[in-house]
């Protein structure tokens, strides 16, 4: 069961004869009970579709007035000043950069690690250890994000200081690793590490599912040709699982983009008007943490609208990322058919 991801790679796999598993529409008798129950089921489906549509519509409708009043460029401005409802000036450039870079970094850390763990569970662990190992990794998903935030900010952050100094000393001449003087426990780089741990169970669970589906014939063929275990994995398992791993990475990325509390606890927000920096060893705010940090300020519609417009961008971002994940899975289905 893919309880961690909520998405299953086996979902759409057709039966061996290529039909949908249950064509039985003719079984409905057209009696009242059938019409009611069938209608309710269809209604629930409609509710789900309506909800997703409504999320987009409501956010858009409430963001538009504030966007119209906004005298800064919404996409490129680094300012965020909504204190005066009649003189709104806000842009998402900073939020977008911090959100994207922290999530991408988290994905870059989590995907190789998750793939290795998935291979460990499916191909390397002794049989008795495989199932407990899978459960233990899933347990990482059971820890609430607020606990990750607390743990990261208060317990782990201090140990990150040497890592940060090392990178700054070695690569500080690259703008991405520039020293900004921010303490290691409150930087984008550190939150990426915590985010990576948080999305690890998602990446692992989905990769595990595809790796386990590698046709035995492929693996045996590789072994019969004299491949070592690693060569077998490289030539049979990994190519077969690639689409699954890509969509796992996308789902992990989507989760990281929207993570709120851990980011809010860990990354220190910068004062308005702070100089722009590309550095990952800097504070900042993501879309989600910006909104959550200012939840208490939702008092006027125009102010709220500014935050809702930030939420809308986040929604669109995650929508696109998740849609890509879905399309990759669909294409894999077409490929295996």
């Amino acid at each position: 069961m893919s309880s961690v991801t909520g998405v299953s790679v086996t979902d759409e796999t057709p039966d061996s004869d290529g039909r949908d598993p249950l064509p039985g529409d003719n079984a409905s008798t057209g009696r009242l009970g059938d019409r009611l129950f069938g209608g309710a089921a269809r209604g629930a489906g409609i509710v789900v579709v309506a909800l997703v549509t409504l999320i987009g519509v409501f956010l858009l409708v409430q963001a538009v007035p504030s966007l119209a009043d906004n005298h800064e460029n919404f996409l490129t401005s680094q300012k965020w000043d909504v204190s005066d409802a009649d003189n709104l000036g806000f842009g998402i450039a900073r939020l977008l950069w911090v959100t994207v870079i922290s999530s991408v970094l988290a994905m870059l850390i989590a995907v190789p690690l998750g793939v290795c763990i998935a291979l460990f569970i499916t191909h390397y662990a002794p049989r008795v250890l495989a199932k407990p190992a899978a459960i233990l990794v899933d347990l990482l998903a059971a820890v609430p994000s607020i606990v990750y935030g607390l743990w990261g900010a208060i317990v782990v952050g201090q140990y990150f200081e040497p890592v940060q100094s090392f990178f700054i000393a070695a690569l500080g001449w690259i703008p991405l690793f520039e020293d900004t003087g921010a303490s290691a426990a409150s930087t984008i780089a550190f939150v990426s590490v915590v985010l990576a741990i948080m999305i690890l169970p998602i990446v692992t669970a989905l990769s595990r599912e595809v790796f386990a589906q590698t046709p035995t014939a492929h693996k045996e063929a590789a072994l019969a040709l004299g491949a070592t275990k690693w060569e077998m994995i490289r030539t049979a398992v990994l190519p077969f699982g690639r689409p699954g791993v890509i969509s796992a990475a996308m789902l992990g990325l989507g989760r990281a983009l929207g993570e709120t509390i851990a980011v809010m606890f860990i990354v220190s927000s910068l004062p308005d008007g702070a100089p722009w920096s590309w550095s990952i060893f800097n504070g900042g705010e993501t879309f989600a943490s910006k909104i959550a940090n200012n939840a208490g300020e939702f008092d006027s519609p125009s102010k709220t609208g500014a935050y809702i417009s930030a939420g809308l961008v986040l929604f669109v971002l995650t929508f696109v990322v998740n849609a890509i994940a879905r399309i990759v899975i669909e294409r894999r289905k077409a490929f295996t058919e």
């Binding site: 059971a142 709120t260 935050y307």
Partner: protein, 307 residues
Amino acid sequence: MSTLDTTSGSVPQTARLTSGLGPKSSSRAIKDRAATVVMWLAFLIAMVPLVWILATVVMKGGSLLLHADWWTHSQQGITNREEGGGAAHAIQGTLIQAAMTALIAVPIGVLTAVYLVEYGGGRFKRVVSFMVDILTGVPSIVAALFVYAVWITTLGFDRMAFAVCLALVLLMVPVVVRSTEEMLKLVPNELREASYALGVPKWKTITKVVLPTAFSGIVTGVLLGLARVMGETAPLLILAPYFRSISTNLFDGLMGTLPTMINAGRDNMAIEANSERVWASACTLIVLILVLNLLGRLISRFNKLDR
């Protein structure tokens, strides 16, 4: 696992002598060994944060959980510097909201899954399935903003715990749909056909044969879905601020919950009494979620359908 589980991965002796490949080069053997080591290491690395978090939480806050007061008293009238009081208000709040969320999300989720597996076909089914995936990816903060936009800005209600439940429903529905869907697909078609052959209408076949067969699997999915939404904090921050006393009314006033209790105390972690309470709340939250998780897995053991 393949039937040819050659852990050593060595080329058989005869192949060595006759094949044009020559003896297995040492670099290939080294790579193979290195890969094995890397896989083991990756797993061990993943275990570090799990053990570290659990140890931290238990060591810093576990002792409070052993006091009866923790489970029976609220924080009413207790300041940050004072010791004492409990988390009864927050535990209750979390459980009440979880129950309400499940009450709304489970029927929608199960019916949607029934539609996808038993009824759906063609384009609309694909649309629903796609939307469920999108809903899975909706960040909790976006769900919270959406409910804020509908419930508070448009409908004009106050912030209340029920609004949080609505946001959590959005997050829980896709989990329930996916797990139920998977279970329904595992129900053998022969059962349905046998039922149809006896002249049982389709809806009765579903409610009396298919759903009961998949029941324990569905319960597992629901529990795991609940475990996921119970730790969500973002909707709480936006829709229902923290409250120190016991309040059981979802529709009026504020309600304390474990995540907001943690959030409320995090600014004063230097104060011993407060910090211990924060860690204890985190510990309680993890315990609640773990119990749900383990319960879910335990029930899935009795599942006749599980692979």
